[in-house]
Structure formats: C-alpha cells, structure tokens
Symmetry: C2
Subunit: 284 residues, 2 copies
C-alpha cells in the first residue's frame, strides 16, 4: 500500500514542491473542498497518468461562499478523504488552515471578468472571485505542471482555464468528464444533503439534459424549443424543483447560443428543496 504525505503549513508544501521540482519530478494538482466522491478520485487517477506526483488539496474555501450559503455545514470528512486519496494513488495531500490561507489582513483578489458575469456568477455574486483567488494561491503554493478540474462545474472549469492562460502559469489545464450515479445524477459533495424523497427527484437534471441532447440529435436547432423541453421535464420529474437557470452556451467562450451548432453545452441550476444542484452536458 502506498503512503501519503500530508502537508498543513503553506511553507511545508512550498518546500516539498520545490524539492520535487529540483529532483526533476512533475506535479499534478487536484484542488478539492474535501468530502471526496468518485468524481474527485477520477481526477487523481488521471493526474497520476499525467505527472509523477499528484497533490490533492483539501480546503473548504470560505471566500467562495456567500454569507447565507452553506460554508458552515459544508460536509467535512478529512479522515475519510485521506483514505480515499491513498486508495486512488494520490501521494501528497495539502490541508491548510483557514486562518493561514486568509489571515485577518488578507486583501488580494483575482477576477476573470466576462466569464463570471453569467449563470453561476449571476446567481452567486462573489462566488467565482473566491474560486479564482484560492486557485491562484494553490497554484503558487503547489507549483504544478498539470491542473485537473471536473466538467461538472462547467463555468468554473472554463474560467479557471481562461485565468491560467491569461496569467501565464506554465500549467497544462485538464478538464475531466462528470462522474454520475447509476440514475444519472452528477456526483457532488452536496448530494448528501438530499433526503431520500429529494434524492428520488434529483435525476431530473440529468433527464432534461439527455432529452435536450436527443432533441438535437433528432434535428432540433432552436434553443428556445430545447430549453422549453428541458423545463417541462424538470417540472414533471421533480415537482418540488425550482429552476434557477437553464442555458445553452458555446463550450469555450460561454456565449449564449440561440441556434444550436456544434460545441453547444446545456447547463442548469435547480433547487431541489433546500439543495441547489447544477449539471451540464455537451448536446452538440
């Protein structure tokens, strides 16, 4: 069985990364907020194929939660996480202290402007500024050659890729497919908030996405028709659902799509009772 190195101090991880680099080793980073599921583990396994050492970071980032959001009750399971990372082949885990990452006098933020103005950025003001800032910090601490993110958080993946290019880190950016439960529900640490009844309604997101993809395959190109169908499926499959948004966008630019051509992504955010779920699928 492999052993894992756990670093907690920022300087410890910086020194470890520096040593690895001087030894000629390549580093992959898998940034997470813990409460790991198969989606995270698929990133770690993929990271092992792309680099010599995979550093998984586990940090529930307060800067990406609004005051009314679920920072305090966000699931935390450091012991379980370490065991899962070890089994997935991860060699290093960076688990920093919140006050070391954001001391009282902390004052520096990174913004990707246009890509953060729509969808999740519009529904959750300030969220992406928190995401881009923590990933900047983690990139600088871990000094990776490769960074891996999941497609489940589509907009996050696109804007972090944009940030990585704009700010010139010499980092290969890898986006991995969404991992799903058997009934199609996208894996998410927040799924554990779902009661059995809500869990039964949660696959509505996936069902609406596959229906959209089928519509396009059958020749439909009108965005409004596709979104209308998705909306009806949500209503029928999940009576409790409140739709936050349903959008069709061009894969990389995230510009709105009205007539579906290639590289169109359907994405949506839906409240299932107290739980806000997001999902997306490339439908063309």
């Amino acid at each position: 069985m492999n052993e894992i190195i756990v670093t907690r101090a920022i300087s410890s991880q910086q020194k470890l990364s520096r040593r690895l680099i001087r030894e000629g080793k390549t580093i992959a980073i898998v940034p997470t907020m813990g409460a790991l599921h198969e989606g995270h583990l698929s990133l770690i396994r993929r990271g092992r194929k792309k680099a010599d050492v995979v550093v998984t970071t586990v940090f529930v980032n307060p800067a990406q939660f609004a005051p009314h959001e679920d920072f305090n009750r966000y699931p935390r399971d450091p012991k379980g996480d370490l065991e899962k990372i070890r089994r997935a082949g991860g060699q290093v885990v960076f688990m920093p202290d919140r006050r070391k990452m954001y001391p009282d006098e902390y004052d520096t933020y990174v913004d990707v402007r246009h890509l953060t103005m729509t969808l999740e950025g519009k529904s959750r003001p300030g969220h992406f500024r928190g995401v881009t800032t923590i990933v900047t910090k983690l990139f600088n601490i871990v000094q990776p050659d490769v960074a891996l993110f999941g497609m489940k958080d589509y907009q996050q993946a696109m804007l972090l890729k944009k940030m990585t290019i704009d700010l010139n880190w010499p980092i290969q950016f890898v986006i991995c497919p969404t991992m799903r439960e058997k009934d199609g529900l996208a894996m998410s640490s927040r799924n554990r908030y779902l009661s059995p009844e809500l869990r039964r309604q949660a696959p509505a997101l996936y069902q609406s996405l596959t229906a959209a993809r089928k519509l396009v395959r059958d020749g439909e190109t009108r965005g409004s028709t596709i979104i209308g169908r998705m909306r009806r499926i949500i209503r029928q499959t999940a009576p409790i659902a409140e739709i936050d948004y349903i959008a069709l966008t061009e894969l990389d630019s995230m510009k709105p799509v009205t007539i579906v051509m290639k590289n169109t992504v359907a994405s949506l955010a839906v409240r299932i009772g107290p739980v806000r779920l997001i999902d997306n699928m490339k439908i063309a």
Copy 2:
C-alpha cells in the same frame, strides 16, 4: 564581457526558467518598463548578490496607463537597455510583445484592495490593477526566487509585497533604496521629459522631504506642521509646481500618520509643468 540571453516569446522564457530551476539555479526578477537608469541597474546588481541568474523584464505595460496618460510617448530604448543590463551583470532579458501579453480576449485582473485606494491609487484610478496584473504574469512566466523593486515607487512596492504574501508565491521580496541625481532628484525614466528650466525646479520634491526629515529630527511630531512646511518649500523652490498630494503614512500599512512616530514615510506627487513626479522618504 558577459553575454546576455534575450527572450521574447512567453514560452521561451518559461522554458528557460524551468531549465534553470531544474539545474538547481536560483532566479531573481527585476521588472522594468525599460528606459533604464541607475536605479534599475542597482536592482540588477543587488539581484546578482541574491540569486544565480537575474532576469530583467522590459515591457511598457499598457494596463497601468490611463487613456490620457503617457503610454505612447513613454521613453523606449531597447538597444540602450540591453547594453546597460549587460554591463550591470544581468544575464537574461525578457522583452515580450504587447499583443502576446494582452491578446484581444484578455480578461483577468488582480487587485490589492485597501492599499490601492490612497495616494497614487486615488490619483491614477486603475493604475495599480495594471501593475499587480502584469507583475502576476511576470512572476508566473519567470518563476523567480527573489523579486527586486525600488523604493521610489513606495506604494507600488508595498502593495506588490502584500500581493506576493497574500497570493503565496514562494518569492523573497526585496525593496531597494531610491537612487538620486547629485541634486537629490529621484531617478526616473520620466525625468527625461523635463526641459532644462523644469529640471532646475524638480529638486523641490527632494528638498521638501529632507526638510521634513530635519523637522522631525529637531523634535517636531505634528503631521500638519510637517506637511505645511513641505508645501511651502515646494512653492518657493518650484514656482511652476502643482501639488497633487503630500502624505505621511506608516511604512508598511500605509495608514495615515497625524503624529509622527517611528516608521513614518513622507510621500508626494507634484506636477512640474507637464511632468508628474513622485518621491518619498522615511522621515522617522
């Protein structure tokens, strides 16, 4: 005579830095906008003492100029710069293309919030966002162990130090003393804008600073008295001068100082005809 390596493509500099790091060499960065003077060269010489290789970057950064400012007429002398860098012992010069650094779709910015709200940040909105963003990019491209900046740009030095700490680059931040002409004028690439008549009035800034320091040494502690004296000296020495601001601040926090204690910096910005000059001095 030493030879220098000139890199122009971002990827060339990234590869060169990576190779140096893998060889166990340490790197110092001296970011400049070219039109080099003895102040810049003192940073290069100091860099040689702190690291194996000094990378001087020469890039007139459009993002830190407002539309009405002097981006287009900012002095440029790449050939002279290379010769000066070589003589000062600099081994690598990174001279990137503007459109490679800021392509049309460029969209990511870094902000240090509180430290940018006063003095230069107040007088030149957006200026420091341009500075923090370009330095982030240069840090990521050059991957230095040490970064050197001049105290002449006091607020810039303080906020870049804050940014480096907040964003966790493993970089030692070194601030070097202001270099001055014989009559005390702080060296600046913009001094070459001064006509002989304006040049004669320009030492007013230095004279007001040394008078402030003397006042404090003689026992004065009231900020308003010190600033009043500075203002009078400027008016007497440089009749053409328009004072933008005169401020007393605590060295690191840059908080305003009303009663002078230790670690107080006097700083000022003054227009001498069409040329805006800044200077500062630790007066306690």
